[in-house]
Symmetry: C5
Subunit: 95 residues, 5 copies
C-alpha cells in the first residue's frame, strides 16, 4: 500500500455502468511523513476519509478485494485512515 | 484511476481476434487540473468520450471488469468522463 | 495499451516449459508519433508484425487473455498493428 | 520481489473490514546492498521481521497468495527476511 | 518480459511457508544489449541460469503461471535464458 493525502473529490456523471456508487476521492501521493508529491490518483472510499487525512491506498487487482469493489473496474481503493506512523522509534506522522 | 485527456483515436486493421470491437482512443495523461503530461496510452472507450474531455482511466486487470472488456487483452479502459474536480474546496477542473 | 516499434527478435533455447511456442519480439517503446524511447521489452507476437512497424502492446495479466497466451507466464503481448493515429484532427502516425 | 528495510510500523484504527488483522510495517526500499532509497510502502508482515532488517517484498496480486492475505485488499507482503546476498561471488549484504 | 543479468543469489531462512523451495536469484536489469541498469530484483529460477547470463523475467501475476510458482506469492520468475537478440538485422547480444 502507498500513502496519500485526501485532497478533494471527483464528479463524473457519465461513467461505466460497472462502477460502484461510491465516493471518488482525489488523493495526492505523500511520503511516510505526509510530505506531498506531485502525483495524483482517484481512489474509491468507503471509510469516510476526510479532507487532509493521510490514507493507505491499495492498488491493482487488490483494490477489488472489498465488498464494494468486487468485480468492478476499480484499480485504487482506500483501505485505511492512518493514525500514526512510527519510524525507527520516532513519530513520523500523527493524525 | 488516473486522469487523462482524450487526444485522438487509433486505427488498427490487423489486431488480435481477442480484442473487442470498440473505439481505441489515444489518451494523454494529465494532472488533476488538466495539465498535460508527456505520456500517452491507448484505452477502450464505451462512454462516448469526446476530444479534449478529461477522463478517468482504470488500468491492469481492473480494466477487464466491464461488459465489453471481460476476458479481453485490454489493460486500459475509460470508466468515467470527469465533470468536476474539487481540490481543497476550490475547483481544480470543470468540464 | 502502450505503443512500441518492432525492433528485432529474441532467441531463447532454454526456456520455461510453460512458455508457448511463439515469436518473441524485441519491442522498443515509442510515443504516439513513433518517436523512440530508451526502453525495451519482449512481447509475444501472433499477428505477424514486421520490423519497424508500430504495435500496441498489452501488459500484465491482460497479456494472457488470448488463445496463445492463456495461463502462460507471459506479461506482454502484441494485440494490434497500428495503421493510423489521429491526434486532434491531424495524423500523428501513418503506417 | 524487491528489497526493503523495515523502518517502522503503521497504526490505522479506521480500516477496511476486508483487511486482515496483521502487522502493517513501514518498509523503505533499498538496493541489494541495503542502501536506502527515497521510497516507502506499507507491507503486511507475518514473519516477525525486526526493525532494520532487510526483507523481500512481493507486490500486486502475488501479495495475496498467502494464508493471511488471501482475498484481502493487500498489495504488498513480506515473504522473506534476507540473511545473505551474494553478488558475483562477494557478499553484498549479510544480516 | 524484461531483460536482466543474473548477478547472484539470495538466502532467506525465515520465509513465508507459501514460498516454493527454489533458487532465489539476484537479477540486475539490463537493456537489449546487456548494458546494466541500477535496478535489481529477486526472481525465482528453475532453468539453471548461470552467473552473468542474460535472462527474460516475467513479472506480476504472470510470474505465477508455472508449475513451481502456481498460487505462490512470487511476482518475478525467470522464463528464459537469452541466446541471441537480433536488432534491426544486427546482433545486439549473443550468449
Amino acid at each position: 500500500m502507498i500513502f496519500g493525502i485526501v485532497a478533494g473529490s471527483v464528479v463524473s456523471d457519465t461513467k461505466s455502468e460497472s462502477l460502484p456508487a461510491a465516493k471518488y476521492l482525489l488523493v495526492q501521493s505523500c511520503d511516510r511523513a505526509g510530505a506531498l508529491k506531485d502525483d495524483y490518483l482517484v481512489a474509491i472510499d468507503q471509510l469516510g476519509a476526510g479532507m487532509g487525512e493521510m490514507v493507505l491506498v491499495s492498488q491493482g487487482s487488490s483494490a477489488r478485494q472489498t465488498e464494494y469493489t468486487d468485480k468492478k473496474p476499480i484499480d485504487a481503493v482506500i483501505v485505511g485512515i492512518v493514525d500514526l506512523i512510527d519510524e525507527h522509534g520516532k513519530t513520523a506522522y500523527k493524525k
